[in-house]
Amino acid sequence: MPQNLYEKLWQSHVVHEEADGTALIYIDRHLIHEVTSPQAFEGLKLSGRKPWRVSSIVATADHNTPTNNWDRGIEDPVSRLQVETLDANIREVGSLAYFPFKDPRQGVVHVVGPEHGATLPGMTVVCGDSHTSTHGAFACLSLGIGTSEVEHVLATQCLVQKKSKTMLIRVEGRLGKGVTAKDVVLAIIGRIGTAGGTGYAVEFGGSAIRSLSMEGRMTVCNMAIEAGARMGFVAVDDVTIDYLQGRAFSPKADYWDKAVAYWRTLHSDEGARFDHVIELRAEDIRPQVTWGTSPEMVVSIDDLVPDPAKQSDPVKREGMERALQYMGLNPNTPIKGVKVDKVFIGSCTNSRIEDLRVAAHVVKGRHIAANVKQALVVPGSGLVKRQAEAEGLDKIFLAAGFEWREPGCSMCLAMNADRLEPGERCASTSNRNFEGRQGAGGRTHLVSPAMAAAAAIAGHFADVRDLL
């Protein structure tokens, strides 16, 4: 019987299964950061249990860490305590790798894992963070988990799971100029809604997905969770294998061929069945901008802000009205002219080297508009930062009026000092535009790095295709 990729990944990790289908799934990689782990380590200690396999752990501090003035350390005492608690916990239990605050390899956990080859095809990857779905780009079964589950994985190396339904989202065709992975995933969410993927393991396929680099695929899988999916993934191909060659934790010479042979089986078989299939045409996707307070509230750059009066479902209409009010937008205005106060290029969605290259390409030789109060570039990791500096991208951004920061989550969720003030409007390459996400009262519009760069230059949302 032909199997889909999810079925293969699932089957290869079941340790035990109850009659009702509840299963124990073995976990290969456990990524840890400071926010969702302290209570798990504490719980473990209180119950007198030991971690099962610490060599599965890769940890870093990212959510709370400042992105400038590193010499001053972490000034917020509450944040500092959380980061120091992680230091102490990892020191005590051990790990495969730990990239603490200020380590040259420190960064956003979902950027750091893959760039070291700590995320490998066929693995189960968990992290106390919903954007763990990112790692699905490597044909991993990757799950965001809560703190109780972090403790569970620490103690047992397993997770209690039930098999998900499967969905194939196929994007066929060629993406137009200036249309990137971020636009693809925003268009998908616009189509199926933020609950469209609930209960599903989603495989992204089709020629447009296969044409993406690993970094582009990570962007797509990263936001699978915003479509409500339990996880998202892409099959292994040459792009995957080429990416992994020579990374720090990739299999070494003696195992490489064997690993590659196995990885090549990680795709859905011809004729495999899915519970649901959705198709999009790549040619139909234009650069996207969200207008509301949920990632599904998204339009193309040449569209108007939608009109709630045209919505027949009363719950949806009310949601739209509330969102427009929060966002300070009027129905039927072109999104293109909406002015921005701040621009944020960063986050686990879009802070990798290719993202920075695209943005730098747009801003090169130009300057941010006078009405833009702050434009931040926050590389996803120390390695990304140094790579960008080696290519001179930092100079391009600085010359254009951007700030060039140290790596971390930064203004994606504003747990550190980088945030929006009430009423400020931001073009952001992150993944969530919820109320208050980037600071209380802040207004977030999700866009690709190219579109964020275009907005910074124009001072309002602009079609990056006109700047290329």
Partner: protein, 212 residues
């Protein structure tokens, strides 16, 4: 974890779809390294007129009189009635911790986000999915009748309305057992420690590069 068998309690209606975890507990409170004390900051941005800070005493903060949980008739509510896709967003378990600390033990909605749904069970909160028409009817009844209470019976898998109507709900057998008994999942899993060890050895032999 506290057991959950049966609960009869006051219902508070939160008439919004897509309530996300940032709304349930804003990020500044995630800096805590504790599991408790999040109740006063549940729905912080909706509940108060100022911006809350971690560690602050909330008793004298200005409240938003329009927010449902600030209305006198809903004080002491243990059951939250809401709309679809409740708990979307992050995996932060601080969200169920805040709901629990505030006093909620049951959440009724048309649908939930997966990770949040799962996190509820780990903390003795029962999330119940009911069809849209039943949710609509419950909203109408709660709003019409001050002091509206529901009885939630996990063993019988039903919600009983004051008029005696029984609304059946689905719950996964394993999760139900855990809640009814207040079992700790880790203890349950470790009963299979030998199997886990055997699985691990086999995996190490087949894919040694995963264990480098």
């Amino acid at each position: 974890m506290d057991k959950f068998v049966c609960l009869e309690g006051l219902v508070a209606p939160l008439d919004r779809a897509n309530v996300d975890t940032d709304a349930i507990i804003p990020k500044q409170f995630l800096k805590s390294i504790k599991r408790s004390g999040f109740g006063p900051n549940l729905f912080d941005e909706w509940r108060y007129m100022d911006v809350g800070q971690p560690g602050q005493d909330c008793t004298n903060r200005p409240r938003n009189p329009n927010f449902v949980l600030n209305q006198p008739r809903y004080q002491g509510a243990q059951i939250l009635l809401t709309r679809k896709n409740f708990g979307c967003g992050s995996s932060r378990e601080h969200a169920p911790w805040a709901l629990l600390d505030y006093g909620f033990r049951v959440i009724l909605a048309e649908s939930f986000a997966d990770i949040f749904f799962n996190n509820c069970f780990k903390n003795g909160i029962l999330p119940i999915v009911l069809p849209a028409n039943e949710i609509d009817a419950l909203f109408a009844e709660v709003q019409a009748l001050p002091g509206y209470r529901l009885k939630v019976d996990l063993s019988a898998q039903q919600v009983l309305t004051p008029s005696g109507k029984a609304l059946p709900f689905e719950v996964d057998a394993f999760r139900k057992e855990c809640l009814l008994n207040g079992w700790d999942d880790i203890g349950l899993t470790l009963r299979h420690a030998d199997k886990i060890r055997a699985f691990e050895e086999k995996r190490r032999a087949e894919q040694p590069w995963l264990f480098a």
